[in-house]
Amino acid sequence: MSDRAFLSLENLTLSYGNSIAVNKFNLDIRKGELVAFLGPSGCGKTTTMRSIAGLLNPTSGRITLDGTDITRVSANKRNVGLVFQSYALFPHLTVYENVAFGLRLKRMADADINARVTAGIKSVGLAALSGRKPAELSGGQQQRVALARSMVMEPKVLLLDEPLSNLDARLRVEMRAELQRVQKETGITMIFVTHDQAEALSLADRIVVMRNGLIEQVGTPEEIYNNPVSAFVADFVGFENVFALKDGKLATPGGAVALSEALPGNAAGFAWRPAGVVLDTGPFQGKVKSVSFTGNLREYLLDTPLGPITAEVSAALPVHDLGTELAFDLPLKAAAPLQRFA
């Protein structure tokens, strides 16, 4: 596997009429890589996918795939697969014929088509349903047909727009594993879109966090999870207590607050996960505003001079009642320094 970019997006700008949906997007993806686009609704994930697939012409910028500039290549010649957020199955065709659709257009021999389609349908676990029409399938089954339909084309890049969003929790975990297995087996380069940070973390080789049509951070799941560069990313991956840093102190609603340890001045802010907050001891005071039990852990929302603080402790510890004054600390070793705050 080479380090050279297999799919590269250079200064890609995409707009609908006069409104820019994606602005100067730059990303290099290696062959065989599994990349996740993570971001809130409306941040431009689908738009970016559509332009890679050729369904949306970029306003400016360049898309290169496998050494060829495909920016102006029409969608039906790109060999890029896309599994739509809405599946987009053909209602008048059976599962089998849906999956065979693209192969038939390639004028492959019937026997080859049959072999590939049968294997494709089997790999998504729908062998028993191959004679059904899409309307006779559940949402999750339809999604799997859409996946098989793209997979059998052996595209150079497979784009998946929220491929697991309509599955129940168990099937989602199964399909996650399935997707990962297929991806490793076929070595196919994949980009998938998700809202769900857990899905992105567990599946992807690399995560692209997007916000308002801009890339906020690109990194491995570990990097994104442990070292978010900005308050936005920190918030997105579960750092619920985020503060800007000003003159070596935390900027809080109650004024500048110094921690017990000196803060490095080169960071723009600091963030703590709920689990990073120490309860029952420390220099700060807060009043318990709400308590919720999440199984192993108990989550407290504290009303404090620093603003609301979320802390998580083992559920085995005794419960604090609402209104109790608690001491707490924000230890530097549990903090993630942020390069950018806004």
């Binding site: 039906n76 739509f84 809405s86 199955l89 053909f90 209602p91 257009l105 859409a146 793209s150």
Partner: protein, 258 residues
């Protein structure tokens, strides 16, 4: 149906709608020589006579050609138009939509007169062709409307999916769009057929030697002959329309489209 309708109003409405049809059917079964209601005795002889009147046969064929051919042409024009209107934000989309709907609003008598006065007479245009085009134009709005609603119900991402699987735009249209709007097209065809077949005002102006639709022929037949055969023919035509709509409803769920 509205719950506030009392059974009485409902009955009145039904009598109002179906009554004339029942009277026609009864009159057509008369054994007498003139068109009267209630019928004088019962017989099928007027129904039998309908099939022996030569001008009825000719004008029936003319009406069929207009209804089938005109509607077919209207679909040929209307389907692409409806597709474009529903898929693309055309700069003059609204205007086109309005123009296409005009024949529904403008009284047929005006359309007929205008065509005769300003097209057929000054350019010595063939009346048959004018009649055919007029029927096409009258049916076009219905085809555009009905087929548009099919297109609007069909998500556009299906075509994109087909394109990404290697189809051309045109190929995608024929392979995945058309098969999914088949029943809409059939519904449009039936609606167009019935509209054209029952058309009177336009056809009235665009009649000439050998060019005469069935309803017009029936009118002129009645001017000279006042026997129940016109009632018999009306009853037969009404049955044909009912049959077509019944089949359409049965197999297509026609009422979804109209």
């Amino acid at each position: 149906m509205n719950r506030t309708f009392s059974p009485l109003i409902l009955a009145a409405l039904l009598i109002f709608l179906i009554g004339p049809f029942l009277i026609i059917v009864a009159a057509s079964l008369s054994a007498g020589d003139t068109l009267t209601f209630p019928p004088q005795g019962l017989s099928l002889r007027w129904i039998a006579k309908v099939f022996t009147v030569e001008s009825f046969r000719d004008s029936f064929i003319m009406s069929m050609i207009l209804a089938v051919g005109g509607t077919f042409l209207a679909l040929l024009l209307g389907v692409p138009a409806a597709y474009a209107l529903s898929r693309y934000k055309l700069p003059f989309g609204e205007v086109v939509n309005t123009i296409v709907t005009l024949p529904i609003i403008v009284p047929g008598i005006i359309v007929g007169l205008a065509l005769l006065r300003y097209v057929v007479v000054p350019f010595s245009f063939s009346i048959g062709i004018a009649l055919f085009l007029a029927h096409t134009a009258l049916v076009l709005p219905y085809t555009v409307r009905v087929v548009s609603s099919s297109f609007n119900n069909l998500r556009s991402d299906m075509e994109e999916a087909a394109v990404l699987l290697g189809a051309t735009r045109l190929g995608a249209f024929f392979k995945v769009v058309l098969p999914n709007i088949q029943s809409g097209i059939l519904a449009a065809f039936i609606l167009g057929f019935v509209t054209s077949f029952n058309q009177v005002p336009v056809s009235l102006f665009l009649s000439g030697p050998g060019v005469r639709t069935l309803p017009i022929d029936m009118l002129s037949y009645m001017e000279t002959t006042y026997d129940p055969s016109v009632a018999a023919l009306s009853a037969l035509l009404a049955l044909m329309s009912i049959g077509i709509v019944f089949l359409a409803e049965r197999f297509l769920g026609f009422s979804r489209y109209v």
